[in-house]
Subunit: 86 residues, 2 copies
Amino acid sequence: MKVTVLVRPKQGILDPQGEAVLGSLRKLGFAVGGARVGRLVDLEVDEPTATEARAQVERMCQELLANPLIESFEIEVPSEPEATGT
Amino acid sequence: MKVTVLVRPKQGILDPQGEAVLGSLRKLGFAVGGARVGRLVDLEVDEPTATEARAQVERMCQELLANPLIESFEIEVPSEPEATGT
């Protein structure tokens, strides 16, 4: 199952890469109000259900993929069904 | 309007950052089949409609945000309506 993790600098955290992109876009003549740069990680995860895949990837984010002090993360799992009451 | 750009290394293009993430995740004990690392850019764009915002950001991608030789990009615009026949 393909899972995508989006990692963004938290609000208020300095983002020099975003500042550089913003400056360059403006120099090129684009009207841009702000730019923030984060990263994305596409993972191929071997879990039977979307719910388990999400839980597994959440652990990966906490242990390696994101720095919770300065970054927030979002996990995109394909077509996650509602949890059933089992 | 907030627009998000997702930039990924194209298939077949070497991704050393992804290889490093994959190796580290496996060392931590996670069963991962593959990992590819790209980047995301959140932009605050000053266009009246989603369609215009998308066109504007597509130009930004071609001119600055992505390297079309080795990267593909995807533009996420909030709730884009169908183009009307005007």
